[in-house]
């Protein structure tokens, strides 16, 4: 009996470990190394898409009562990675639309599913949404594997999704367009900020040890080599259970004066930042990050020793910008999704809901799957003060990275403050930004 119990314990350890290792991920941003920052989001001024105070959609103030328009969404939710904030916020925006006349009187029925990084599960969820629920469009998807697993299926079925992208397939397939830029470009933007701040010698990038993150890290290492630095890619199991050891390793790998780009969510990165401070390593290298730690709760927990010393690439404007759309998002979050933290993830969900609603309202004639997806594809020059530049769906190159200009924020006495204005994420030989920007210029896609 004793030995079988020890065997059971050993098996339990392995099973629990399998659960615990499901990790962490991010949401991404970017920049261009030597170029001077361009403009703050507010400098673009209010455009036709800026939402009026207290209104959503048509803003009638009356509940929609017609036949529902079904829209679907899928988000990853495993220990350490919760992207359901995004679908919840998209759903919150749709609820507000429904309370304000819906889409010409028809409410939006948002069917949000959760997945656990299981290819079979996510394939069946996509099939359920399309064939069983017969959704007319798919909005707010944020998953580690959805783009890689379901791209062909969505394409065959004629769906063009408005998503928050994570893996690189979300940015290299014409059937997806993300309101964010994802961890590849966001980490790259962090590296650009670190270089501008004086990093030299070696640029280290560290991401969760999850499928596809070696590709995400490759942007930073390639950027380092383009700028005569050595690039080092590290994949780390999360949650991090020896943050002090990892802090020492990162500094040792980067060398004095090097740069380190962290690519973790806020709750995961905070213990690491506290260990870096405890080990006295803040000033040894330039610390930068992809978007997710642009989260007020991270700033609140960091000591003043970090003031201005953690350069976070922000794919969106700061949350307390006071700009109309940002204030609107804050109002809707408080009214319809108060348990969703005020964060970049909330901004992603809000924007996905906003652009989808705008496209739906623009449909003339019957609202069908075909007309909905055509409307999504047709979005160009969508202005919001949450973005650095207007957003569009399709670049025409087959690869969509509509959000490719962003800014840098840093913690300062318990708040996140903007430290660099909007800048272009670096185009590299192995990313398509050069072609995409040429297409933007040619087709006037993001001129506002």
């Amino acid at each position: 009996m004793r030995r079988s119990f020890l065997g059971f314990v050993a098996v339990s350890v392995l099973l629990i470990a399998a659960c615990g290792d499901d990790d962490d991920t991010t949401g991404g941003g970017g920049g261009q190394a030597e170029e001077a920052p361009e403009a703050a989001p507010s400098d673009f001024g209010p455009g036709s898409n800026i939402q009026a105070h207290g209104e959503c959609g048509e803003g009638t103030g009356e509940a929609a009562t017609g036949d529902p328009i079904k829209i679907g969404g899928i988000a990853t939710n495993v220990p350490g990675i919760d992207f359901t904030w995004i679908t919840e916020m998209t759903g919150a925006y749709f609820e507000c639309v429904n309370d304000n006349g819906g889409i010409h009187g028809q409410p939006i029925e948002y069917i949000a599913e959760e997945e656990q990084i299981d290819p079979q599960q996510i394939a069946s969820l996509a099939t359920k949404l399309v064939e069983e629920d017969q959704v007319l469009g798919i909005v707010g998807n944020t998953s580690i594997i959805d783009c890689s697993v379901n791209a062909d299926y969505y394409g065959q079925q004629g769906y063009y999704l408005i998503i928050a992208g994570v893996d690189q397939a979300c940015f290299t397939t014409p059937n997806f367009s993300a309101v964010n830029m994802g961890p590849y470009y966001s980490s790259l933007g962090g590296a650009q900020a670190a270089l501008r701040a004086g990093a030299e010698g070696t640029m280290v990038v560290v991401s969760p040890n999850q499928p596809g993150f070696d590709v995400i890290n490759s942007g930073v290492t390639e950027f380092a080599e383009e700028n005569d630095m050595e690039g080092v890619s590290i994949l780390e199991d999360v949650p991090i259970n020896d943050p002090a050891g990892l802090a020492q390793r990162l500094v040792a790998e980067a060398g004095n004066g090097g740069g380190v780009v962290l690519d973790f969510t806020g709750p995961t990165v905070l213990p690491l930042l506290q260990a870096i401070e405890q080990q006295g390593l803040i000033d040894q290298v330039i610390w930068a990050s992809s978007t997710p730690p642009n989260d007020p709760s991270v700033a609140e927990e960091l000591s003043s020793a970090w003031n201005g010393k953690f350069l976070i690439n922000a794919e969106f404007n700061v949350l307390d910008s006071g700009q109309p759309d940002q204030e609107h998002m804050n109002e809707i979050r408080e009214q319809y999704a108060s348990d969703v933290p005020s964060s970049s993830f909330a901004q992603m969900g809000y924007l996905a809901g906003r652009v989808a609603t705008d496209a739906l309202l623009g449909i003339e004639g019957d609202i069908t799957q075909e007309s909905v997806n055509e409307a999504f594809r047709g979005i160009t020059n969508f202005v919001s003060d949450i973005w650095c530049a207007p957003w569009y769906y399709e670049s025409g190159t087959g690869e969509n990275v509509s959000n490719n200009i962003d800014l840098t924020v840093a913690p300062e006495d318990g708040n996140m403050v903007q430290v660099e204005d909007c800048f272009e994420i670096a185009d590299l030989p192995n990313n398509p930004l050069d072609e995409i920007r040429a297409a933007e210029d040619e087709n006037s896609l993001n001129t506002g």
């Binding site: 065997g7 314990v9 350890v13 615990g20 949650p239 730690p293 989260d295």
Partner: protein
């Protein structure tokens, strides 16, 4: 290869974390026959309660810290009093599996109440830093190591020389016979649950400083602790203590080797498997020896 010295020094601190948790598991197992898989989740919940008290400024700091320890004791005691007797006659596998239910309840509660923001606690002792071989050791890390050693030796003494300790050992061997001998079984078990829970709360408070107040991270820190307890065969407090330190030092030391550092979190499993194989081999040799 990077300079190994700072990682070895930090490994002691990390090992202290694993050791104190592993010893806490073995203490309860020896006294009640229950392997508490919710150990990490209880500590994490207590630490989050402390964070909430500090964040809201509801009470002085020391009250907030005490709340974590008291929470650990009360929840564990409550679980032991309510579920201990019905499960008493069941197989150890069933008892251990039942604690998974508590783990899931606490994990869900934490995700629901605190799950979406980043949290952190900094104990005053974390500000006392001493530099050794290029690494900084904090007062909390030193307390963690001392705590593991004190809990181990204190429990060893308690089990060996006190009346209640003798009763606990008897209970672990045979509950029925112990009861017929007039030992107040439920009271002794309750004391074991309470003691283990208080240690769990204290460990949670220290761990929230040493590895961070991350819900999933703290909850699943039970894994290396379980590995240490396995190496101690769920019996020996001192072997568990040593195993905890060994796992910490090896895991941290591997960080210096860039090519294999990515796999260092496998250390608890690899060492536990090696230990289990060795125990099996030794037991086989002993049987063969007896046969011949």
């Amino acid at each position: 290869m990077l300079d190994l010295k700072p990682f070895i020094v930090l490994g002691f601190g990390l090992g202290g974390v694993f050791a104190m948790s592993g010893v806490g598991l073995v203490v309860l197992y020896r006294a009640t026959g229950v392997l508490n898989l919710a150990y990490g989740a209880i500590g994490a919940t207590g630490a989050l309660i402390t964070w909430s008290i500090l964040d809201a400024g509801w009470a002085p700091e020391w009250v907030a810290y005490l709340a974590c320890i008291v929470f650990g004791g009360l929840v564990t005691l409550l679980y032991g009093v309510v579920f201990g007797p019905p499960f008493a006659a069941r197989d150890p596998l069933v008892k251990a599996t039942a604690t998974l239910g508590l783990l899931l309840i606490l994990l869900g509660t934490m995700q629901w109440v605190w799950g979406r923001d980043a949290h952190g606690i900094t104990l005053p002792t974390s500000r006392w830093n001493y530099e050794i071989a290029g690494a900084r050791i904090s007062g909390t890390q030193i307390i963690g190591v001392a705590f593991a050693v004190v809990v181990t030796s204190g429990t060893a003494v308690l089990l060996r020389v006190t009346k209640i300790g003798t009763a606990m050992r008897a209970l672990a061997n045979d509950r029925e016979i112990t009861a017929t001998l007039g030992v107040p079984v439920r009271r002794v078990e309750a004391a074991a649950w309470l003691g283990s829970g208080l240690v769990c709360g204290g460990a949670g408070l220290l761990l929230s400083n040493l590895v961070g107040l991350d819900i999933v991270g703290l909850t699943f820190l039970v894994i290396p602790a379980l590995a240490a307890a396995l190496i101690g065969q769920l019996r020996s407090l001192w072997v568990t203590l040593a195993a905890g330190f060994l796992i910490g030092i090896v895991q941290s030391g591997l960080t210096a080797f860039s090519d294999i550092a990515e796999y260092r979190t496998l250390t608890p499993f690899v060492l536990a498997i090696i230990a289990l194989l060795w125990f099996a081999l030794r037991s086989e040799q002993s049987l063969l020896g007896r046969g011949s």
